[in-house]
Symmetry: C2
Subunit: 122 residues, 2 copies
Amino acid sequence: MKKEIENKYTEPAHCPVRNVLDRIGDKWSMLVLLLLEEKGLLRFNEIDKQIESISQKMLSVTLKGLEADGLVKRTIYPQVPPKVEYELTELGQSLIPHLNTLVEWAKDNMKTIETSRLQYES
Amino acid sequence: MKKEIENKYTEPAHCPVRNVLDRIGDKWSMLVLLLLEEKGLLRFNEIDKQIESISQKMLSVTLKGLEADGLVKRTIYPQVPPKVEYELTELGQSLIPHLNTLVEWAKDNMKTIETSRLQYES
DNA sequence: CAGCATCCACGTGGATACTG
DNA sequence: CAGTATCCACGTGGATGCTG
């Protein structure tokens, strides 16, 4: 730690940037949120199939995090074999539009960025 | 890798979600972009002071990445001691509004999320 | 001043096997 | 079916010291 006292923009607990990065900055959360938005209600294995390259462990960890933050609602049906369904909460829904504008921006500028990066390397 | 063939939403090179996460999902990029938007033109050490907890190494790495992607412009003044200034490019500017809506969302919902997480832990 | 080089600690996330 | 448990590889990023 360079300094003991951090300012409002770097102190994790009160920094909105950290706050948002902690939620969507990991490898899978954003993808899961967008998938749940698109498909509505999904079971664990359905998500697993849609996001092909995710492992069971990371899907489990990701869903737990999103559930803990109140972005995703988890419903367990007490039956054998178990059935669990996931869906966005209102809070989760409210985040989606902002994620979508980001994705749109990415789509629009992917080529420009790739070109820039290639030039930079050379 | 669970499967050899990944779909369009997980294959890194063509997935817009990965694309955007790779740019702003790291620890410092988003913070640096927002700072440059707020302050305009800044020297290396000025950024270093504003973001108190960043190390010189990470600031250097972050700025290089942003420069490579064409989001930040770097201007060197050939003098001793050296002077280097950083500013957002047009592309960088175009990303800012979307980051700001995210930050606004985070501000509006921080408390709700924190409450949810505390309840989940118990 | 604006970095780079080196070393290293830690956390994320992947592979695999197992279970109620 | 919907996870958990364990182990481990890797990358991110921090600390420190050095330099043109």
